[in-house]
């Protein structure tokens, strides 16, 4: 899951002054730190690979429950992401435009899922969940929406701060565009990167979550791996490696799709955690 943090933030205009200085001296420390960090991540992966052996990989697919588990995880990822975006995008836009005063409150609220222990959350949810949701993937997806909220909100918030939302919306209105059109043609294209980032974080979260799924008795892929480990060590480790690889591929795919076009427009590259492209404080209008 660590692979998610590939951040590609392109400086819009590399400052000419700093360039020659960089070229002159080989950045020794940068490489030392990079190599150390790389070793920290790669050695356990290598160890896992050694333990499992390549022969274990084909066996994964023969195990019972594998496909249903991975299928459930993917379904959960799709459902959770959709609900999260449909809920959070309009909410965040509305807060930015009409209620900028409650942005701090929003930040505080959206951090709650991180503060509250998962066990407390899921037991509470199971106690009050209506019967028709129990046992369906939607119940777990709804819980995941809450869990994803801190990440989704922060991504979208940063995205909306990276351009002059109020002026864009007013310009669009004055040209005759109503709300739906403004949202679709003006706001969404300009927070595309932020939406991608929210999606990536949500998908990563859903594919890796164990506690809630396990307590609510859903056999998602992580739960399946743990259950299965008791039977066969090497195959289970191979399955985790596969999970890591599949997740990584999936996220890279999302990033690639999201980044297409952004480069052409000189917008923010798909930077998962830093979206702010430009400081608009110099454009702040006088309060009148």
């Amino acid at each position: 899951m660590a692979a998610v943090a590939s951040v590609e933030a392109e400086a819009r205009a590399p400052s000419p002054a700093s360039r020659p200085a960089r070229r002159r001296s080989f950045p020794v420390w940068r490489w030392v730190i990079l190599l150390l960090a790389g070793a920290y991540f790669l050695i356990p992966l290598y160890a896992a690979l050694r333990f499992a052996g390549l022969k274990a990989f084909p066996d994964i697919f023969k195990q019972s429950g594998f496909f249903s588990a991975i299928g459930l995880s993917l379904r959960l990822a799709v459902i959770t992401t959709l609900i999260t975006l449909v809920l959070m995008v309009p909410t965040t836009v509305y807060v930015h435009l009409r209620l900028p005063g409650i942005r701090r409150l929003m930040e505080a609220i959206t951090i709650l899922p991180i503060v509250i222990p998962p066990i407390v959350l899921i037991i509470g949810v199971l106690k009050v969940a209506p019967g028709f949701l129990l046992g369906t993937p939607y119940l777990l997806a709804l819980v995941y929406v809450i869990l994803a909220m801190p990440f989704a909100y922060r991504s979208l918030d940063a995205g909306l701060r990276s351009f002059d939302l109020k002026t864009m919306v007013e310009a669009s209105n004055s040209l005759g565009a109503g709300w739906p059109v403004t949202l679709w043609r003006v706001v969404l294209p300009n927070i595309r990167t932020a939406i991608m980032s929210a999606t990536v974080l949500t998908v990563a979260l859903v594919l890796g979550e164990f506690t809630m799924a396990s307590l609510a008795l859903y056999v998602t892929f992580p739960v399946w791996i743990v259950q299965f480990e008791q039977n066969s060590g090497p195959v289970s480790v191979a399955a985790s490696l596969l999970a890591l690889f599949v997740t990584w591929i999936l996220l890279m795919l999302i990033v690639a799709i999201g980044g297409r076009g952004a480069r052409r427009r000189g917008g923010a590259q798909v930077a998962l955690f830093t979206v702010a492209r430009q400081d608009f404080s110099q454009n702040m209008r006088e309060p009148e």
Binding site: R12, D164, E170, N173, N190, G266, G267, R285, P287, E288
Partner: protein, 370 residues
């Protein structure tokens, strides 16, 4: 909502008509008031704009000029008062259906669209089809001299180019009213000057009724048919630029527009004031409520200056302004006045020279002593 039928018949291209039949709509703001909490942004503002006229609202920041413009645009609602465009009350019509083109202070082009698509956006909202739309947007870009930038994205253009595209975008919809909210204030001086002329000549050619908000008096005086000076939510004076400069109605207008000297004087009876050893008539009715010691307000070109040993002042500084030179003279009582002289005569007035400053006798404004 007026739909654009002009573009369809203009297949030949070349001809640009942005304001429909060339006649802008008359606008009437009546008794507008607006408060933000305890702050009164507007205090019963009334303003009529004739069809095709460019009116500038001028004032310091916080005077309510932007609020007035935003109420006309439909982005704010007045607490009381009415907004009438072309004889129709528009207060309840949302901004998207008011047909007003607006150019903003901050760069407002959509970053995800090319210059051409930005200009075409309003036309797309009016259901114009691709080919017509692009042709018309192209004509508008040509009008602001940016045909070669059509395929560029906003971040690839300079600030001045972006504002010109924004102007083309606002004019593309054949707006009934054009609203300019300090469109030049983010630009550097030279570009500002060029764009000022370009906006004005386009506006005159198209005959679009225009409200222009600025805190820059030079901009307002040089571009507008009439200028309204605002202070604390009220209009102090609305007049053509020359009248505003020559006959300011209040001391605030006098000092906000152009340069003003303050010279100590003493009110006499019968609307006269004594200053600099002369007694001159008081202009207008500003004398009400004042008595005794006052300040006399005179422009630098409104003072006489002669070289005279033992005169009432000493030259302290010369500022060369081109055809005229502004001479600073210290009078007794530590009062410094500025007097404009033709630059050819200024050589005879070096710092330290003794001079006589006097009032020519024309009516002057008076204000309470500061």
């Amino acid at each position: 909502m007026t739909t654009n039928t002009a573009a369809g018949t203009e297949a030949g291209g070349g001809v640009v008509r942005a304001a429909g039949n060339g006649a802008g709509a008359p606008v009437a703001l009546e008794n507008l008031s607006r408060s933000f909490g305890a702050v009164h942004a507007l205090h019963g503002l009334s303003l009529d704009i004739e069809p095709g006229e460019l009116v500038a609202l001028l004032g310091p920041s916080g005077c309510g000029k932007t609020t007035a413009l935003r109420i006309l645009a439909g982005f704010e609602t007045a607490d009381s008062g009415s907004v009438t465009v072309d004889g129709k009350e528009v207060s309840r019509i949302p901004a998207a259906r008011r047909d007003m083109g607006m150019v903003f202070q901050s760069y407002s082009l959509f970053p995800n669209m090319t210059a051409l698509d930005n200009v075409g956006f309003g036309l797309r909202m009016r259901k114009q089809r691709g080919a017509h739309r692009n042709q018309r947007a192209g004509e508008l870009l040509e009008m602001v001299g940016l045909t070669d930038q059509a395929k560029k994205y906003p971040h690839q253009m300079s600030g001045g180019q972006q504002q010109r595209v924004a102007l083309a975008r606002a004019l593309a919809i054949e707006p009934r009213v054009l609203l300019l909210d300090e469109p030049l204030s983010a630009l550097d001086a030279k570009v500002r000057l060029q764009l000022r002329e370009q906006i004005r000549s386009l506006q005159q050619r198209l005959g679009t009724t225009t409200l222009f908000v600025t805190h820059d008096q030079e901009e307002a005086l040089s571009m507008a048919d009439r200028v309204g000076v605002m202070r604390e939510g009220r209009l102090e004076q609305v007049a053509v630029p020359s009248v505003l400069y020559a006959e300011p109605a209040t001391a605030f207008v006098a000092e906000f527009v152009g340069t003003m000297n303050r010279i100590p004087g003493e009110l006499q009876g019968q609307g006269e004031v004594a200053a600099l050893g002369a007694v001159v008539p008081v202009h207008g009715e500003t004398a009400t409520g004042l008595s005794g010691e006052v300040d006399v307000l005179v422009r630098p070109e409104g003072l006489h200056l002669t070289i005279q040993p033992g005169g009432n002042g000493i030259v302290t500084l010369q500022t060369f302004l081109g055809s005229v030179t502004r001479v600073s003279v210290r009078l007794s009582g530590d009062v410094t006045v500025k007097v404009d002289r033709p630059s050819s005569e200024a050589a005879a007035l070096p710092p330290g020279a003794s001079v006589q400053v006097s009032l020519p006798g024309a009516p002057v404004l008076v204000d309470e002593r500061r």
